[in-house]
Assembly symmetry: C2
Homo-oligomer: 300 residues x 2
């Protein structure tokens, strides 16, 4: 299971019961939190996300609507007796703010908080089942997007067949990589006999806050699901540019040029109560678009 | 109109849709915010508090459940184009945290934020219609309670009578203070002829987080409404003491010994889903008690 759940979809000012940005990406037993606006811990509780399983948090930039909920989440994790390490990836400066807030409260966390400063584009986290990359977006302050990619070995074990041929489990990893198996008496069992093709690895890109920027196209090329902000409808493209944000048409254009399979749009300005026009406008350019509605999970 | 509206009544960990501490005190056209846990700006919107009229914010202490919502509220005020000065009364350290958070976001507020460090007990704000005092409570870190007192001059003008006696409006303030009026031809008009007795000045005390502490009794003596925390039910008095919090019976005992007219209780531990026992236990000792339920306003 690889999916993303929206916890907050609004831009700076909370409005109409929409919350500032936060998303949870689930990949098997791993849960990643991307951005953490004010109230994220309440949203995590509301949507029954297992917060103890969040071990990695990615913060795109230090505008408050993307991180003001972080210190509350961290201290609550502490109050709940968390012991596992927590890894935080964020721009420089957030480490000092957190340290100061813990210090004035005389709080010592019962778990280790690792701070990883985002400094350059590339892989920031690697695991045998996934990797996470960061890339720069163009916003008013330093800002980062993230791509989470599944890693899948080429082949899956066919359980009946490996039992039938009595292949020891120690060889399974080699089989998954596509190798043949040689029995003790020298017979070759072809890989295709005991494995099946794996499903393709999927990927999710989160573009954070950004002005329309064609440099993003290569960075999110071919992803299965692309989240791109649409703070404004298309008529406000001048305002969007001025504030380093994007419109519906611009997000759709990036998705289209990057050959994304699906587009999620969010970070809606508080000036809009109804969101339907965001969907209509974006679909004019990129039809497989969905609104990042809070509480909804999208399969990647 | 003098009243308090509860925006958050839960202790550290948000639970059961209860929010961390925040209260709004309304006194005529003045609105004071006391404490500002995470999500307070959303609660302000939900309960339709006029946030532009909040000019004074009082933060009791620097545990996150009492101030993590402050930076979000302040930046939202800025985004909404606030121009009026905002006065913040809080323990030392919060000024630096706010400055750092504004700095990393490259945010310049469009209004002036005055930071007043709480240092010693006494009057911290004085106006011809009210005054605010702070007092120390005993908690794990430096912590302050607040008393907001109406100021009323002794007498109210009887509008028909002052017109009848043709007393110039320039003399009204003197009449309110109880003075007689001397006409141009030397006649004395007794004060009681043209004024009526005023209603008594009311007062509200907010005890913040505190262990059971009889030193509080004098500090909140005779207030009309006393808010005192009850983090735990009476059976957990040892745990309460250990964590520098209070129980139902302890809050009731302070209210009773201070001759408070009404007691509000809150800051309920997340271990309790039902709050009815808090009310029952507290009323055993102090009958005029009410639960500080979110969204409810209490007349002072």
């Amino acid at each position: 299971m690889f999916g993303v759940t929206i916890l907050g979809n609004n831009s700076a000012l909370p409005a109409f019961d929409r919350h500032p940005t936060a998303q949870v990406v689930t990949l098997g037993e791993h849960i990643f939190l991307i951005d953490c606006g004010e109230g994220t811990q309440m949203q995590i509780a509301r949507y029954k996300i297992k917060r103890s399983r969040i071990n990695h948090i990615f913060i795109s930039h230090l505008h408050g609507d993307h991180y003001f909920g972080l210190i509350g989440l961290i201290t609550s994790m502490g109050l709940l007796g968390r012991e596992n390490d927590l890894h935080l990836f964020a721009p420089k400066g957030l480490d000092e703010i957190i340290a100061m807030q813990l210090n004035v409260a005389a709080t010592t966390l019962p778990f280790k908080l690792h701070f990883h400063t985002l400094e350059k584009e590339g892989i920031i986290l690697s695991h045998h089942k996934y990797q996470v990359e960061c890339f720069a977006t163009k916003h008013r302050i330093e800002c980062w997007g993230f791509v989470i990619r599944e890693k899948k070995v080429p082949r899956k074990i066919d359980k009946e067949k490996v039992l039938h041929y009595e292949i020891p489990t120690a060889y399974y990893d080699s089989l998954k990589l596509g190798n043949d198996y040689e029995t003790k008496d020298g017979n070759i069992i072809k890989n295709e006999t005991v494995t099946v093709a794996n499903t393709p690895s999927k990927s999710y890109a989160y573009c954070a806050d950004t002005i329309y920027d064609e440099e993003l196209i290569d960075k999110v090329k071919n992803v299965d699901v692309l989240y791109h902000e649409t703070t404004y409808l298309k008529d406000l493209h001048e305002k969007a540019a001025l504030r380093f944000h994007s419109t519906t048409i611009q997000a759709a254009s990036i998705a289209s040029k990057a050959f994304a399979k699906k587009l999620l749009i969010g970070h809606f300005s508080s000036k809009y109560e109804e969101l339907e026009s965001f969907l209509t406008e974006t679909k004019e350019v990129f039809s497989n678009t969905e609104l990042a509605i809070e509480g909804i999970s999208f399969r990647i």
